[in-house]
């Protein structure tokens, strides 16, 4: 029709912004950084990692060195005071960062690997394999993890590695559930059918198309899991099944300081604060990651 011939008389005005040219990574960062709390968490984490790495430079004393003052309060000499046998609490807290980070990240890595493998197998193949694996996870879930942890640690010896093992072995349950359910839904999507009709092999479909999408929810979950792992490690150290004295594990330090709550509350306060802030920052980061990756907010 003549009305429409001749096309637009003017270029259609649109908002051509830089958003068309940004890479997904930059885009992701922008969304993540909108969440102030998550950024705060990230800053603290960076600070913590640096502290752990440069512990010898930051800590004024060796964590095992004993001084003259026992159960001394915070002072200019000992920022966080001293413990029952005269060790500087500040230095021990600083070195404790290494223990917690190592265990937290180590355990989560193991949990993620096992969980992704299990979840992927269960989700992708479905059927009886799926049912069997789900029963197995149910059984594992039924055992209170503390009993298991204490048992394994008592048998394998009490050390950092025991705890990493225990937490890794109990932590994969949640991961596998998530992976499994995202795989179950992704499997049915049309683009999978399209890929298969093009003749792609099963493995290629899994690795190139499904896994990247299934793994997204894991990222946020992973961050929060590190937080939970550190909490669990603190609890286990507190119960005496983690690294032993003189290793400066935060949970252990609290256990050692608990008898002096009346005179020397700083023995519980500072390690407690350290654990709390660390866990909090992982949780904030995890929340931030989840919001940033949420497709509904893109």
């Amino acid at each position: 029709m003549a009305i429409l011939d001749g096309g637009p008389t003017q270029p259609v005005s649109t908002v051509t912004s830089a958003s068309d040219r940004r890479s997904p990574a930059y885009d992701f960062w922008r969304r993540f950084s909108r969440n102030k709390l998550a950024v705060l968490g990230l800053c603290f984490l960076v600070f913590l990692i640096l502290t752990a790495l440069f512990a010898p430079l930051i800590a004024p004393f060796e964590p095992r060195d004993r001084g003259d003052v026992f159960r001394g309060g915070p002072s200019r000499h000992n920022y966080f005071g001293t413990d029952i046998i005269g060790r500087d609490v500040f230095s021990r807290v600083v070195y404790g960062a290494r223990v917690s980070l190592k265990i937290g990240i180590g355990a989560t890595t193991i949990a993620l690997v096992i969980g992704v493998v299990f979840g992927a197998i269960a989700g992708f193949f479905g059927g009886w394999i799926d049912t069997l694996l789900m029963r197995v996870t149910d059984i594992f879930l039924a055992i209170p993890y503390i009993v298991l942890a204490v048992a394994i640690a008592s048998v394998f010896g009490r050390s950092e590695n025991s705890i990493v093992l225990v937490l890794g072995v109990t932590g994969w349950l949640g991961v596998s559930r998530i992976v499994r359910s995202s795989l179950l839904s992704l499997k049915e999507l049309e683009y999978v059918e399209a890929a298969r009709s093009l003749g792609f092999s099963r493995t290629r479909i899994i690795t190139r198309h499904i896994l990247p999408n299934a793994l997204e929810p894991i990222v946020a979950f992973g961050a929060i899991t590190v937080g939970s792992a550190i909490l669990a490690e603190a609890a286990l150290s507190f119960l005496g099944v983690g690294p032993q004295d003189p290793t400066p594990a935060w949970g252990l330090m609290i256990f050692q300081g608990r008898g002096d709550l009346a005179d020397a509350p700083h023995l519980v306060l500072f390690p407690g604060l350290a654990i709390s802030l660390t866990v909090l920052s992982f949780q904030l980061i995890g929340d931030g990651l989840r919001d940033a990756l949420d497709p509904k907010q893109r």
Binding site: P144, V147, S154, F238, R258, V279
Partner: protein
């Protein structure tokens, strides 16, 4: 529906069987002479008489298969054995300690449901209000602070400090035992309500136990409620002319409760973990501290016996929750009906 319930009940059997067997084997199959371990192995030198006693009583020289079978034979008749450490019957210990843990547990659940859900719903409705902001910060903090640290913090502020700084008697709370000296198990009304001086001993452990789970419930309720408030059917209710209050109560809350129900009571691993820690911090003689000590001491009958009960209770509670979920959500209810 009935067939679904029966199927689930039957599933409990293999779950319990595998879980306990796994623990059993863990203690026996791993390196080290079981008798040694049991009699206090590791670095300690076992008392040979004790070792022989233990061996005799439990047939620990028998091959593992035999022990295994014997163990289950005994267990099925509910003979949970006696504690290696004290000789007391496990059943007795169970009865004793379980009561105390339950008392704390009841308070935690009351708090979760009343306070947790209440705060969650309110924060969602009055988003951005000071209640909302306060609860968001509060729940975030409570989720990050380790329970035992929280326990010590409460201890310090409400018991230790007041006691060492001569606060008036009425303001001081007590910790480190279950009740006033000489009251045995403590004095209770209706099983879980402390009477008289008893409450001073109960407040702190109950508060700690309740704090963390309430925070979790409040958080989940809030986000669930927020999701529900945005839902299309809320808009439909508004278009029918319903006032806001009824819309929230009648249409919103029930939908928002669905994910929360599964949370309450779900993560038994965490509940037991919390119990162990809190009971240790406050020297509360419950199941948690008993299991922890028993594992320390390799007191097998106690460990296995108590864990068995725990696993059973967990499975049954889970089933109950699943069933009640079906009652709440008709979509699930009908799916189960079709489930053969």
């Amino acid at each position: 529906m009935a067939s679904y319930v029966i199927r689930r009940l039957l599933l409990i059997v293999p779950t319990v069987f595998f879980a306990i067997s796994f623990l059993f084997l863990l203690f026996f199959v791993l390196p080290g002479d079981p008798a040694n371990l049991l009699a206090g192995g590791g670095d300690r030198i076992p008392n040979p008489i004790r070792v022989e006693q233990v061996n005799d009583k439990y047939g620990l020289d028998d091959p593992i298969a035999t022990q295994f079978v014997n163990y289950w034979k005994r267990t099925l008749t509910w003979d949970l054995g006696e504690s290696f450490a004290t000789g007391r019957s496990v059943n007795e210990i169970l009865g004793d300690r379980a009561k105390n843990s339950l008392r704390l547990g009841v308070w935690a659940i009351i708090a979760e449901v009343l306070i947790g859900i209440g705060i969650g719903v309110y924060s969602a409705i009055r988003r951005g209000s000071w209640v909302d902001k306060l609860s968001t910060v509060g729940t975030a903090v409570l989720s990050a602070v380790p329970i035992f640290v929280l326990g010590y913090a409460f201890q310090y502020w409400f018991a230790v400090y007041p006691n060492t700084h001569d606060w008036p008697q009425w303001a001081r709370l007590r910790t480190s035992q279950i009740g006033p000296p000489g009251s045995g198990d403590g004095s209770w009304f209706l099983f879980f309500i402390p009477t008289g001086e008893q409450w001073r001993y109960v407040v702190l452990p109950a508060l700690t136990m309740a704090a963390v789970s309430t925070a979790l419930v409040a958080r989940l309720t809030r986000s669930s409620m927020l999701g529900v408030l945005d839902a299309d059917y809320m808009r439909t209710a508004r278009s029918k002319g319903l006032d806001e209050r009824r819309i929230v109560l009648r249409h919103g809350v029930r939908n928002a409760m669905l994910p929360v129900i599964t949370l309450i009571g779900l993560d038994l691993g965490a509940v037991i973990g919390a119990a162990v820690l809190i009971e240790t911090v406050f020297s509360w003689p419950g199941l948690g501290s008993t299991i922890a000590n028993a594992v320390e001491d390799r007191d097998l009958p106690v460990v296995l016996g108590l864990t068995l009960v725990v696993v059973l209770v967990y499975s049954i509670v889970n089933l109950a929750i699943d069933i009640s979920y079906a009652w709440f959500d008709p979509r699930v209810r009908l799916a189960k009906r079709d489930d053969t």
